[in-house]
């Protein structure tokens, strides 16, 4: 697949890879906590085509994280279905994860809990390389990929900052040669200056390897920076979807408008974000 470096080339146009990518149709997820059933997802329909970079934005508690878990089979789907490359995603039970689904990898929000504190970086990257169907990049290449010094391989996670640990988590995910990378609020715990850099890094590594990415975040301005298409989620429902610039400049849904209006613009003008009812 020809790698187009220009940042906002629409991926769908040169979709030469086979397979239908990720499809969520009518996915509903309910939780029973202390006798009360609450619905986190009300019939979600979503898709991520191979090689595409898609965004999923929404405020806390809107169900973004549940969606990510449903895609990886970490949460049982009460109704509807998640399919990847034609294979239904079943909840990750006690069996090993099926081969095709191992192509979906995830980067999590909390860098401090993403790596096993008791094992060296090299061991954790080797485990990931083990399931790469093709020829997995070497540990050194992986560390170069995420702009970390090669000596990091022999260190323990506690010897790294939050930002560095997140880069290692990205390297581990890419080591498996995924065809779909899920970022579940991957930049939320990082310093502001790092957030855009790490988001751009994730886009670069997935684009170079031809993988697709679903980038989940509540920070719309960073999402706008890297995704071609995005979904807006509110209280368990998808309220809007479309090309990034289209949604950003002409939001149709009431909630999206309110969300976009409330983002403070760092232009030094001292204008308060508008509060739409």
């Amino acid at each position: 697949m020809v790698d187009t470096t220009s940042q906002n080339a629409t991926a769908t146009s040169q979709n030469t890879r086979k397979g239908e990518g990720l499809i969520l149709n009518n996915v509903t997820v309910q939780y029973r906590t202390a006798g009360v059933t609450s619905t986190a997802l009300h019939g979600i329909n979503m898709s991520v085509h191979p090689g595409e970079v898609v965004g999923l934005v929404g405020e806390s508690g809107c169900g973004k994280s549940t969606t990510a878990k449903a895609i990886c089979g970490l949460v049982p789907v009460t109704d509807g279905e998640v399919r990847y490359e034609g294979v239904a995603v079943d909840p990750l039970g006690f069996r090993k994860r099926p081969k095709t689904l191992q192509r979906i990898q995830m980067v999590f929000q909390n860098p401090y809990a993403s790596l096993n504190p008791r094992r060296k970086i090299k061991a954790q990257l080797e485990d990931a390389r083990a399931i790469n169907e093709g020829t997995a990049p070497s540990v050194d290449e992986l560390l170069d990929l995420v702009e970390l010094p090669r000596e990091s391989a022999n260190l323990y996670p506690r010897q790294f900052s939050g930002g560095q640990r997140q880069r290692i988590a990205i390297a581990r995910a890419m080591a498996t040669g995924p065809s779909l990378l899920i970022g579940d609020e991957p930049i939320a715990s990082l310093d502001a200056s790092l957030q855009s850099k790490v988001a751009m890094l994730m886009k670069k590594v997935t684009r170079e390897s031809g993988a697709a990415m679903l980038f989940i975040s509540h920070d719309l301005s960073v999402v706008r920076l890297i995704v071609d298409r995005l979904y807006v989620m509110h209280e368990g429902r998808i309220v809007e979807e479309g090309e990034t610039e289209e949604v950003w400049n002409h939001p149709k849904n009431r909630y999206t408008q309110r969300l976009l209006a409330s983002i403070p613009i760092p232009d030094g003008s001292g204008t308060l974000p508008t509060v739409l009812e």
Partner: protein
């Protein structure tokens, strides 16, 4: 595609270095820590070199009965004329290894059951938790008393009773740890790269539970010594004539004026248990310190 050799399993190398890093050895240098180390060393030596140190045969009734502590019998003699000092030393050879055995076995059994309950969840977890709730419904000594009485008095049955009584608390602690670890990101990441349940438990979960288990081993050792002595005091543990601190104190019950019969075995229990607790506290403080720094 063979399973990667599990290199992370040798935790003790890492543990020694980590203990040195986070000042466990430094925290031992407090006055309490020093006292703790001295007494524990003393009792371990007594347990190992007991026969060489005992002046007389702990079982021989060769002295006048109920002699107050004097030059020949440093701790005096008991109601059947045995040397109390020799018996106190001899009892260390019984109580310490047995207590270590009880704590280690119940920690292992408890952790295994707790880990499975935490990891497998649902039905298995429910059964285990309800069972431990019921076991906790009895105050510990009373349940131990009932079990060892039913099995019949004797050290073997007392140990069984104490094992049955002790494993639930470890099962609960490990279960809650495993529950938090199971939902933590690095364990999920492990499952996502195809790690099976067992390998995930061994490689990702247990090494992170191990350090806390070691602290528990230390802090609960004292409890095991006390429980064993309690059972012996009730006549359900070590049977006469074998030397045991619990039974020796019970002998002192009969004749109050001979205060030495009960005093010295009790002092032995106290010094052993409190010194282990001093070390356990030092271990606990340094680990709390370590946990704080690792997530700063």
């Amino acid at each position: 595609m063979s399973e990667q050799p599990v290199s992370g399993l040798m935790p003790f190398a890492g543990l020694r270095r980590r203990l040195r890093d986070n000042g466990f050895l430094k925290s031992l240098r407090t006055p309490l820590g020093i006292i703790g180390v001295i007494f524990v060393a003393f009792w371990i030596l007594m347990a190992i070199f007991g026969p060489l140190v005992e002046p007389y045969d702990p079982l021989a009734q060769e002295f006048d009965r109920l002699q107050a502590p004097n030059a020949t019998n440093w701790f005096g003699t008991d109601q059947v004329g045995r040397d109390v000092f020799s018996r106190v030393i001899a009892s260390a050879r019984v109580t310490i290894p047995i207590s270590v055995f009880i704590v280690v076995v119940s920690v292992c059994v408890g952790s295994f059951i707790g880990a499975l309950a935490g990891y497998l969840g649902k039905v298995f977890d429910e059964i285990i938790m309800r069972l431990t709730d019921i076991m906790f419904a009895f105050p510990s000594i009373i349940l131990a008393m009932i079990i060892s009485a039913t099995l019949g008095p004797g050290l073997k049955n007392a140990v069984i009773a104490l094992l049955v009584v002790s494993w639930p608390s470890y099962a609960r602690i490990v279960r809650s740890m495993v529950l938090t670890l199971k939902s933590s990101e690095f364990v999920i990441a492990g499952r996502l790269i195809g790690r099976g349940v067992l390998s995930s438990l061994i490689v990702d979960v247990l090494p992170n539970v191990l350090t806390s288990m070691l602290v528990l081993l230390f802090t609960d050792f004292g409890g095991a010594v006390l429980m064993l002595s309690n059972l012996s005091f009730l006549g359900l543990g070590v049977l006469p004539p074998d030397p045991d601190w619990g039974t020796m104190v019970q002998n002192g019950m009969g004749n109050f004026s001979a205060w030495w019969v009960a005093l010295f075995p009790g002092l032995a229990i106290l010094t052993l248990v409190i010194s282990v607790n001093f070390i356990g506290d030092a271990l606990q403080d340094s680990l709390d310190l370590q946990n704080v720094t690792s997530h700063a």
